[in-house]
């Protein structure tokens, strides 16, 4: 499709500026875009929405106690950890991060010959109590923040199970759509060539 046609559809140039043969294409597009608008479903929010939202909000714990809980997470407090205990905890974190999904409902984890799996569902976790959104981007998403994590219970821990093919992958979290954040609990890291560190995820095949 010609650039001029896009520019016209973007409202940047008037039809008079187009070549004769392009006008027919533009007419066709105008008809199609009008069809999209006519075909679009319309509908205001159902009347019960407000009641349901407020009922769910009323069932949440009081904000004061929630704030105290968040403050408890956010405020620094000294802890003493022996090197041995730290090593055991770190190993546990790595295992949790690379744990293959069990009973996942996604269908593209179909087994292939040799018992290997095409994708493994990886549980990603990030503690970010002040975030409004957390997404995961890595070489398995072409570095697009394609998958968003959830914090459904509002405890500040964002999580999600994401399909990743076996191999060694770099990844980062994108917090609030702007802040690239390295996973503090990754087992390995690599320089990204721009002065930051990517977390590294290694997934082996089971076959």
């Amino acid at each position: 499709m010609k650039k001029e046609i896009h520019r016209h559809l973007d409202g940047e140039i008037v039809p008079d500026a187009l070549a004769r043969e392009d006008l027919e294409i533009v007419d066709e597009w105008d008809r199609m875009l009008a069809s999209f608008q006519r075909a679009a479903p319309l509908g205001d929010a159902p009347p019960w929405l407000e009641q349901r939202v407020m009922a769910e909000i009323d069932a949440l714990p009081e904000r004061a106690s929630l704030q105290r809980f968040l403050a408890w997470i956010v405020l620094p407090a000294p802890i003493r950890v022996s090197p041995l205990a730290a090593g055991i905890v770190a190993a546990g974190v790595v295992l949790a991060l690379v744990l293959p999904g069990r009973g996942a409902v996604q269908t593209d984890s179909a087994p292939v010959a040799g018992g290997a799996v095409e994708v493994v569902y990886v549980q990603f976790l990030l503690e970010a109590p002040m975030a409004t959104s957390v997404a995961v981007a890595g070489d398995f998403t072409d570095w697009q923040p394609t998958f968003t994590l959830e914090d459904l219970d509002g405890d500040g821990v964002w999580s999600g199970r994401i399909p990743v093919r076996p191999g060694v992958h770099g990844y980062m979290f994108l917090v609030d759509e702007t802040e690239w954040t390295t996973d503090p609990n990754a087992g390995r890291y690599q320089d990204d060539g721009f002065g930051n560190r990517n977390a590294v995820l290694a997934i082996g095949t089971s076959g």
Binding site: M1, D10, R63, D108, D176
Partner: protein, 182 residues
């Protein structure tokens, strides 16, 4: 000052001060806009309402993180838009065509033209559903909801250039898809 006169920023401040009930003002102000977008992204009224409910509840939980309380509507919209994209990406979502089709069949009095328009609607929405979630979102906001690039960029916190690229790619993909169906 009566509740209806409160600005968004005042409502946000009241909610954060403990007046939970004030949050219903935001639900009333933005419920229809959010639901309309969710409906156009999912094609299903039940799923749209569920996504909007989740977005409002999440917005309440994270309200302290809203950096521009006077633009809380745009902030809530971004939360919903992320839910919608994840939902569109999900393989578990229900078939959209039935909802669209049933709406089309009750749209007029001529059974023949109604059937034709139903077929066209189904074809159009199947093509839209074949786009990536980001392309679909950009196309819906631009060409179905009729927003300007500047409006979309402000709401979605993206550059106009990025948005244009998404819309251009969506048009190219739709052109190919609709030619396949023709």
């Amino acid at each position: 000052m009566s509740p209806v006169e409160r600005t968004d920023a005042q409502v946000v401040r009241d909610v954060l001060s403990g007046d939970r009930d004030a949050y219903r003002l935001l639900v009333r102000r933005y419920g229809d806009v959010l639901h309309g977008h969710a409906l156009r992204m999912t094609g299903n009224t039940d799923e749209a309402a569920d996504l909007v409910q989740r977005a409002f509840v999440k917005g309440f939980k994270k309200l302290a993180n809203c950096r521009e309380p006077d633009r809380v509507g745009a902030w809530l919209f971004r939360i919903l838009a992320n839910f919608c994209k994840d939902h569109v990406r999900s393989p578990r979502r229900s078939d959209v065509s039935m909802t669209i089709l049933s709406g089309a069949l009750t749209s007029g009095s001529d059974p023949v033209s109604d059937a034709e328009s139903a077929e066209i609607r189904t074809r159009i929405w199947e093509a839209l559903d074949a786009l990536t979630p980001e392309q679909k979102e950009a196309f819906v906001l631009k060409h179905v909801e009729g927003r300007t690039y500047e409006e979309i960029a402000a709401v979605m916190d993206l550059s106009v250039a990025s948005l244009k690229m998404r819309v251009h790619r969506a048009r190219e993909a739709l052109k190919g898809l609709l030619e396949e169906y023709a």
